[in-house]
Subunit: 339 residues, 2 copies
Amino acid sequence: MEPPGNKRRATSYDVARLAGVSQSAVSRCFKPGASVSKKMRKKVMEAAEALNYQPNAIARGLITRRSNLVAVLVSSQMNFYYPEVLFQLTDRLSELGLRVLLFTIRDEADVETSLDQVWQYQVDGVISASYLSVDQHRVLTDRGIPVIMFNRYFADVPTTSVWCDTAPAVSEMIRHLRDFGHQRFGLLEGPAHSMVGADRMRNVRRAIAEQGGTITASVRGDYRYASASEATQDIMGADVRPTAIIAANDMMAMGAMDELKAVFGKSVPGNMSVVGFDGINSARFASYELSTIRQPIGRMADAAISMLIDRVEKPELSPERRVLDGSFLQGTSTGPARV
Amino acid sequence: MEPPGNKRRATSYDVARLAGVSQSAVSRCFKPGASVSKKMRKKVMEAAEALNYQPNAIARGLITRRSNLVAVLVSSQMNFYYPEVLFQLTDRLSELGLRVLLFTIRDEADVETSLDQVWQYQVDGVISASYLSVDQHRVLTDRGIPVIMFNRYFADVPTTSVWCDTAPAVSEMIRHLRDFGHQRFGLLEGPAHSMVGADRMRNVRRAIAEQGGTITASVRGDYRYASASEATQDIMGADVRPTAIIAANDMMAMGAMDELKAVFGKSVPGNMSVVGFDGINSARFASYELSTIRQPIGRMADAAISMLIDRVEKPELSPERRVLDGSFLQGTSTGPARV
DNA sequence: GAGTTTTTTGACTTCGGATGCAAAATAGCT
DNA sequence: AGCTATTTTGCATCCGAAGTCAAAAAACTC
């Protein structure tokens, strides 16, 4: 039974002394591609073992200028999409020996303070699945910190980003609804500033224009479940009622389904159809089984990480955008139009 | 337009030179309680501003032996409880100037590698909402790293932990069910090794023993939504069918509700009642409106953090357990027993 | 204004590893 | 063995900020 804790943690010098070698030797033994003889490695490793030595990542980071830290920014909004993205990113980064420094963003002000921290902690890079203004983005890149935007980008500024193209899947989705006889669509859009939402709805409008059908109402929500309630009432309260509601994300689609059932006595898909975007796990609950446009989150995470690593190693790489296609996932929230 | 990036980032020396003072002076200006004259502070701050200087947290951590990093361990299991805890912890830690180093744990092996990283990154402390063995816990505390267990503790080893006592709320919940005339209960338990689940079900059994009623079946799930499907079938397939199902967490309760509706044609609460534990956000969706025993996650996070900070400042503090009471939250998943 | 106390300031050392370079050790070759 | 080519190893210095301590400056006293 050792006296717990108080003893200082072992340093490379301690290991060196015990092993009877120099500190540099110890350092080399813990560096992957270094030139060390077998004997040396054995001696050092034994001493390290005995002292419970592990290199100090902080000290290492100071000299190598590589912290192996990646800042991940996610919105703390109640939208289950974010945790999924976060966990996917974290799992994968861990496997590559990179640590996640997590920043949850509630509002604009949070972003500013987070960016200061990002800078102070010498992160190797940033993956942002949260809102970031062009200026904020530039502050980071100007300072030489690679930034990858997850599922967002700037229209007018080159940005390294992963993006999910929903156009083909939306087209498929509208065809699916049209085949079911739907003609009148209510749109539950995202917030005004959301480019993801704007893009999704642009695709929806285009597909409807191409394939036929009318939009009976278009209302904004804030991507959260709760916001769908009022939005659905607005949609249903319009002059003409739709037979299908298309929501800009799954959370709102779920909210819309529940509102339709609870308040309007509609069954889904019996009387109304509902579709969403994202393909989050909770949309697969049997109570919803949402027809939705699924983002390949895992593959998007891989893409983001690989672009990030490329840029950590070669900072001069120019911005790049990787686009993955979303896919239409048919659930049971869509069925024949009941007029 | 500055030449982007390539320039080295400014250090305290650069600022000192520009301001015409010593490096120590710069350092002091960035330390809260230091003695600096107004003139000096002004000069330094202007220079810092001009150079876009922010102290290097890595270098600072090296000398102060305080990284201001807190490792947060959460299970990456598909259980929405974890993201909620994580986000609560992160929001609060950020406000206190502490950064979250996130570790998602898939399995035992992940824990081991994570602990190595925790050690290497000189975190100031660890908050674990994930499985941790007694040995793993001891490795950390022996090394002098404060560990706070979130919603778990060891029966036989003193542990600093936050815990939610569900006993009174469970008693209330059973009374609620008894008042509705329920006599036969099916238990959907957690995995065998889960002490949280064991504790919850112990309280349930005790309350039933005290207030009357029989347990028709007791089946284990793994806390995930999907596991409730088979478990519910087992419960419903037993010799005697219950009128209410008590699940060890909300995810499984939701799964049970859906299984009852979809496969057994039961309505909830029309034909069967279902209750859960946790009080996660998704249990509030209108499709579920689960009656559940709610954990005060926010307050638990506060408690965990305050205990952590206490121990970072005074490592010699002995283990402490803070216990908060859960509360019974009545939803619409419970109603009169229909025999 | 000289003498004393208090506050500010700067020179220097420290934290714990990584690395360039030269010395030492080993291997390779005739 | 003798001598060169190649590894290994250790020394010394660096990364960037913080803290110690004594010198310098400012603030008080009488």
